[in-house]
């Protein structure tokens, strides 16, 4: 029991640190990608290729003056960035980062917990993700902040439905709610993207919207709402809000690669297992999982610096009148195919 708890604690700490590290370097990567797309150099002063830029940014954020508006609801104002960060990090506990490692004859899972309702857990955390933004926007006592918060919550509620329906067709195919079993299903039957291209497309668009990334960044659209829900925030509280967005991006990239792109599976697993030991293979699998995730993060950035923002009615039209019916169609089509296969 103690050994088990110790293992889990270590895994939790490692996952937490890696998530934060990757989110940190995503901020740097975002500016580098933006520089590349806009034909600039990007940050290059702190360290080689600007590699120390996230640290410099962090120090800057901590050193800035902390301003709390006098009319703000102080307790909620302070709590909101923390809630945002909490809900962003919670999802990482069900993602299978790799298969197991063998240490001293024990099997250590590279996943914090494999609950049999993993997918529903993700829905639940995603649906509570809106609280941080709403509380932050309301407690600032600023009309722009409130507008941003309202936009964010209506956008998240609208896109959650299509997101859930897109995942339901994956669940119907794999017949399980555990993420690890879904990844293992793909090892035998091939990646889910082959059978669910429409489901993936819907999920990808909804993930963009849930992360509040361009073209869905209406909650903070700087041209109309100054900064949206974080207008009144300064110093590291603002930093936490922005940081939560990058954590969300990393987590949704990880979910997409686990659900649709085979997770930590390697091609030619049988052949490779004769060459490498189990542990090496497990770590290689994790590396491939991370590479897939980074690809998604890159695509997110690519879209941000290429596509302009939606208008509000376009956003609602896309969510309710295009994505939701498409997702429903996808569920019905998947069900029909499963039924035909069973009757065959």
């Amino acid at each position: 029991m103690e050994i088990f708890l110790l293992d889990k604690t270590i895994v939790v700490v490692i996952v937490f640190l890696i998530t934060l590290l990757i989110a940190m370097y995503s901020t740097w990567a975002e500016r580098k990608v933006a520089g590349f797309i806009q034909d600039r150099i990007g940050p290059n002063r702190a360290g080689i290729f600007g590699i120390l830029q996230p640290l410099a940014d962090g120090v800057k954020m901590f050193m800035k003056e902390e301003i709390i508006p006098t009319q703000a609801d102080k307790a909620l104002f302070i709590m909101a960035p923390g809630i945002s960060m909490l809900t962003a990090l919670l999802t990482s506990s069900v993602i299978p980062w790799g298969s197991y490692l063998e240490i001293n004859g024990r099997q250590v899972m590279m996943q914090i917990t494999d609950i049999n309702i993993g997918m529903l857990y993700i829905f639940a955390v995603v649906s509570t993700g809106v609280y941080g933004i709403m509380i932050g926007g309301w407690s600032s006592n600023n009309k722009y902040s409130l507008m941003g918060a309202l936009r964010a919550s209506s956008q998240m509620i609208s896109y959650e439905l299509a997101l859930g329906l897109a995942l339901i067709s994956v669940i119907m195919m794999t017949e399980t709610l555990s993420l690890k079993s879904i990844v293992e299903y793909q090892a035998i039957n091939g990646w889910n993207i082959i059978y669910q291209p429409l489901g993936f497309l819907i999920f990808f668009i909804c993930a963009l919207a849930e992360c509040n990334r361009t073209p869905f960044d209406l909650p903070e659209s700087e041209a109309e709402l100054i900064g949206g829900y974080h207008t009144e925030y300064s110093s590291m509280k603002l930093g936490l809000f922005l940081f939560a967005e990058y954590v969300n991006m990393f987590i949704s990239g990880a979910i997409m690669s686990a659900l649709f792109f085979g997770g930590y599976n390697l091609p030619f697993h049988e052949e490779l297992s004769t060459v490498f030991s189990h542990n090496t293979l497990a770590i290689l699998g994790t590396v491939s999982f991370m590479l897939k995730t980074f690809t998604f993060i890159f695509i997110f950035m690519w879209i941000r610096w290429t596509v302009p923002r939606f208008r509000y009615d376009q956003l609602m039209h896309l969510g309710w009148k295009i994505l939701l019916p498409l997702a429903m169609f996808n569920v019905v089509a998947t069900g029909t195919v499963i039924l035909i296969k069973m009757l065959w």
């Binding site: 309702i117 529903l120 509570t128 509620i157």
Partner: protein, 169 residues
């Protein structure tokens, strides 16, 4: 371990539930209700009903309370002075309604005996999605379908109410 978790969760849920009624600011009320839902979900997990727990969070904490918060923020029900100006009639009605609820609860619980859970009920997979789905689509298929029709009519009703001008369509 389980007992300790139960005590912690119970303290949180009772305290948060009391906050819902005693806090003056409606926003704080809604947020304490969210905390109550989370702790009740914890209780469900202790009773091995994981599916119920997670659905409780998705539906209540994730959807309904967000809409509550939404409405309260939009209406800006933050001025506490209104609460002092309640008329005598509304207070009397509130007392009568609360008393009726108490009477019906007492009547409901009077004859019931606390029975310890038997071995069959507390088996580990009692609350899994597979078990629940099987039961819903075999033994309880009629109530399940009827409730789905109820939801459908509610959705249609909401859409009809939401349309500003019916003659256009």
């Amino acid at each position: 371990m389980e007992q300790l978790l139960f005590i912690i969760l119970s303290v949180i849920s009772v305290a948060a539930a009391l906050c819902v009624i005693f806090v003056r600011n409606p926003i704080y009320s809604v947020l304490s209700l969210v905390i109550t839902f989370f702790s009740i979900a914890g209780h469900y997990i202790l009773l091995k009903a994981q599916f119920l727990a997670i659905v409780n969070i998705i539906v209540y904490a994730g959807a309904i309370m967000v809409l509550f918060l939404f409405v309260i923020m939009l209406l800006n029900l933050n001025n506490t002075e209104n609460q002092e100006k309640r008329s005598f009639v509304s207070k009397a009605i509130a007392v009568v309604a609360g008393g009726l609820l108490l009477v019906s609860l007492v009547g409901l619980l009077k004859g019931s005996v606390l029975t310890p859970t038997t071995g069959g009920i507390s088996s580990d997979d009692i609350g899994t999605v597979q078990r629940l789905g099987k039961v819903l689509f075999t033994d309880f298929v009629l109530p399940f379908e009827i409730s789905s029709i109820l939801f459908l009519s509610a959705i249609i009703g909401a859409v009809m109410l939401g349309k500003k001008d019916l003659k256009d369509h």
